[in-house]
Amino acid sequence: MIFIHFALRNIRAYAARSLVTILLLSLTTAMLVFATAFMDGSHDKMLSNAVEIYPGYIQITHRDFRAKPSLDRLIFDVEAVARAVEATPGIAAAAPRFETFVLFAADEKAVGGMLSGVDFAAERRLSRLASSRTAGLYPEEDDSNQLYLGYELARRLQVEVGEQLAFVGTGADYSFAADNLVVAGIFRTGLFDFDATAAFVGKDYFDRVMAAANYASHFIVLPEDPRAADQVAAALNDRLDSDYVAESWRTTMEGLVQAMLVDSIFGYLTLAVIFIVIFFVVLIYTWLTVFARMREIGVLRALGTRPGQILQMLLAESVLLALVSVVLGGLIGAGLAWYFYLHPITLAMSEEVFKQYGLAASSMPTTFAPLLILRDMAVMFVLAVLSTLYPIIKANRLRPMEAMHHV
């Protein structure tokens, strides 16, 4: 306890030095906590955007459909899958979709795209199609030729709301399929490729013109708790026929998940470089302050204080300063993370553009995860104490006379 008493006395005695150390370390800690919260928050936001716009948290498909999509690998009994979904707990909503590539034509010029038959009412919960509407109406009827068209595709076809276009394609039984469609509404999700290829009609209408009754290319499932998507997918697999498989977004969107992971790794590498710089700044600063007190250390040694006791005293100072700094910085960082969790950071320059997409993607909330904050505080604490070790040990090795004559 005596060392803590001495350490506290020294911290007070060298108030300016202590204040600079505390400022340096607490600001660094706050920066780490906030950077982690922002990085994780923006990744979560981007992933949830990408998942919720259209692909959904869980997809049920034919076992081989994702690897090799084909009309031979459809869900051939939608009703049976629907029964399995109903029997599975933890599901908030689900609906079948049928996607197929067709040619759209407003005049002689044709454009390839993806025509999907969907349950428009269910999609209000399952995707962000409805909220991405930029013109016209979100179709309500599932048995009419009302088309909900991607913004870029509408631009390529040069059609507007109320105008007619046609599609030609292949039905579920490989027969020829064609019909005229009326543009009811136009959507813009902000995902360029999706907006440039996707168009939707009601599932009942689609089934009729594409000979697809009771067929689907996949089933979309929204779990009550999206974080439990893997568990719900596993529960579904227990109930589904072995021809079909339920997979969570972590599998269906593996590429995006990997991209986010790589981005996180680069983010942490950047932080690591910053920490190395900070480590050496603290080390040099401690070096200077310890050597400024060399005469005092020499006197203590001459009075009979053992090197181990001096080491403990200096370490106690270092630990106390680091502790105060990390707690202070942690609180500042956590406060910022909490504030921007409630009030997401908005990129003012792009806000108007993003609003057109109906995604509010310009707002990036931070995450507020106490465990992550404690982890970052612990990392900073260890780093701060380690950076003071070398100058303390080095100073402690000097003989008393050397230390006393040190200028």
Binding site: K68, L71, A105, E108, K109, A110, V168, Y174, S175
Partner: protein, 249 residues
């Protein structure tokens, strides 16, 4: 004297035989194309598309002039009746009575299935330009025919990296054509079967397209030539965009 005459005949036969053997692969392919296309051709066809889950039959008529121009009208089943296709050079249009529209098939859709069959739009457009787009090499021959290896020319805008074609010696018509992708993977086999005489011309009366990729297991498309008339005058009006609607019914 008799001895020298015999020697002369034998020499002539030998020369003739060596001339026949030396027929370049390019010439064989050219003759095959000429025999398949004719100057003009009118065909009545039945197409049977077999998939894992269904079997569909379509009937159609086809008018063609050389390799560059062709016109197809679907006559069966009722729901597809009147759909017409026009091919001029490498461009292709389609008229669909149900939507009352003429659509130009974009280049990006050329590899899509034609009418749900195992033939592609590209087959209708490019098949006739093999002699221009591929380098032909005679790989073997026997008493029944030739085996020609066709490698895609570097600059040629073609789908297949390589084609191996068996050609019958009797008719200079293909018997089996194997299509390989750029990685050398066999993608499909087209068999020309049952050569019959139509007027002055011999022509395969059954074509069988057999996709080889595992995801097409159980699929095949059979084309049966119900009737064929070659080298008779065909109205040029068939080969205009107006014809798509005009001859739809």
């Amino acid at each position: 004297m008799i001895h020298s005459k015999t020697l002369l005949v034998a020499l002539c036969l030998l020369l003739l035989s060596s001339t026949a053997q030396a027929l370049p692969a390019e010439d064989i392919i050219k003759r095959v194309e000429d025999n398949l296309n004719g100057e003009t051709a009118y065909l009545q066809l039945t197409m049977v598309v077999q998939t894992k889950r269904s079997k569909r039959t379509m009937k159609m008529e086809s008018w063609s002039k050389g390799a560059k121009k062709s016109f197809i009208r679907i006559t069966y089943p009722g729901k597809d009746q009147g759909i017409t296709f026009l091919k001029i050079e490498n461009a292709m249009w389609q008229y669909v009575p149900r939507i009352e529209r003429t659509i130009k098939i974009p280049a990006s859709m050329m590899l899509q299935s034609w009418m749900g069959s195992d033939f592609t739009n590209d087959d209708l457009v490019r098949e006739s330009s093999i002699s221009e787009d591929y380098l032909a090499e005679l790989q073997g021959e026997d008493e029944t025919g030739y085996l020609i290896d066709l490698q895609a020319r570097e600059e040629a805008p073609v789908v297949w990296g390589r084609i191996r074609m068996h050609v019958s010696r009797n008719y200079y018509l293909p018997t089996t054509v194997r299509y390989y992708d750029e990685d050398g993977q066999l993608v499909r086999i087209l068999e020309y079967l049952e050569v019959q005489r139509y007027g002055e011309r011999f022509y395969p009366s059954r074509w069988l397209m057999l996709p080889q990729s595992p995801d097409k297991a159980g699929h095949q498309t059979e084309v049966i030539i119900e009737d064929a008339v070659f080298d008779e005058e065909i109205d040029e009006a068939y080969f205009s965009k107006r014809a798509l609607k005009r001859f739809s019914q």
